[in-house]
Symmetry: C2
Subunit: 240 residues, 2 copies
DNA sequence: GCCTAGGTCCCGTGG
DNA sequence: CCACGGGGCCTAGGC
């Protein structure tokens, strides 16, 4: 049985470079692999960055995803999304991993000085079903039980398309007025109010402003958003 | 010299479990480590998910970041941001890695059936300086050269605070009118128009609508956004 | 701590 | 293919 011990804290003075490193990486291309290496990283595309020599963790997935992580933070320091192509080339004595995205055109080059660890993985789980409490769940809750917003409400449509975007839920109240509902699963901010306003004014064009109400439905709302909402004659309904 | 070979494609029938696995993981806690394991993942917090038994890659950083990657996609399947606490516990014969976030309260539990590989890393690069072409760069370009927007423009303020958000750039035109500029580094959409409108109307309250112009500055704009913009009497200036 | 806004956002969905 | 909007968004910056 192969010991897993060597996987624990490989001493820093052990590594591969040059031809040796290139050979190892050749086996990895197209597979799921994790690389721990001393490298330089250049990115150019919509934005641009350069990372000087440093020890980094690189993850490459067969779907074209590339992630370059440093010591801190959730987000990778540099990355490439699925669909990109990975190439192995040479720059002087250094092997270089190059990932290319077509649209928009973006390139990452990882120049490898020392490969400290390479883990090539044969099998990784794919996406499976998993439940979540999303905004859509909140909407369907209201579709089933419109009185959660207010008594006498009647649902007309969900995901209702307009020239200025899609209305989460469209309804009619007890007095026959249209009710535009915008849902937020979390704290609603200024952007949510602006969104709701766009939809309300769009509907008002056909029906008249006095015949249209707008309700922001969310578990909470920021104070500035609340003030802005009130000023526009729109409403807020707390719903968790 | 420790061979790196064992790091390459460890056969699937080699693994640690139970006590052995727990011992290995104890050494890893608090360090930067990469784990390849057969595991089950439960997440509960703002949302909720459950992943059935599967082979996954788990990255844990000393800053509390936890990332659980599957075969595809850029984003981790489950994660925890920096600042979370990681604990190692036991559930029956299974070691469990539990990561806890305080606010909002969120928990991830990774139940470990088999540890196939564990890479504990001593040193990883931290954030370094790196240039980028951001929206801020676009703004400063205009601050230095206001004629890029139009002749006779005079910059009054940048990052100008208002009760409904922060105006990217505030200026005065040749005819003494206020000019509110909203910048987008990429294609501007409906949201950008709504944002600009909020600011323009805010400034109009003090100065009168006819004394205030609003310009959306971006390399491109969607057609729906352009229509909405025109309807509101706002302007678009292409700038890359 | 709250709140705003950007991001190489990614990602799904619908036209 | 574009475009819109959500996200457990994350992250930075201001107050």
């Amino acid at each position: 049985m192969l010991a897993l011990e060597p996987l624990i804290a490989p001493p820093e003075y052990e590594f591969y470079e040059g031809d040796e490193a290139e050979e190892m990486l050749e086996k990895a291309l197209g597979r799921f692999f994790v690389l721990y290496a001393l490298c330089r990283v250049e990115y150019e595309g919509r934005a641009k960055s350069e990372l000087d020599w440093g020890l980094r963790i690189l993850i490459s997935k067969p779907d074209g995803t590339l992630l370059i992580h440093e010591r801190d933070k959730h987000k990778p320091r540099n990355w490439q999304p699925p669909g990109c192509k990975l190439y192995l080339l040479r720059k002087g004595r250094w092997p270089v991993l190059m990932s290319v995205r077509r649209r928009p055109h973006e390139v990452i080059r990882v120049v490898l000085e020392k490969v400290l660890a390479l883990l090539i993985i044969n099998q990784v789980a794919r996406e499976e079903l998993a439940l979540e409490k999303t905004e859509a769940d909140l909407v369907s809750k209201v579709v089933r039980e419109p009185s959660l917003i207010e008594e006498g409400l009647e649902v007309i449509d969900v995901e209702h398309p307009t020239p200025v975007g899609t209305i989460d839920l469209l309804a009619r109240d007890g007095k026959g007025r249209l009710v535009v509902c915008e849902f937020k699963r979390s704290v609603a901010g200024l952007d949510a109010v602006s969104q709701l306003r766009r939809y309300v004014e769009q509907m008002a064009e056909a029906h008249g402003r006095e015949k249209v109400r707008g309700i922001l439905v969310a578990p909470a709302i920021t104070s500035t958003a609340m003030r802005y909402l009130a000023k526009l004659g729109l409403e807020y309904k707390r719903l968790t």
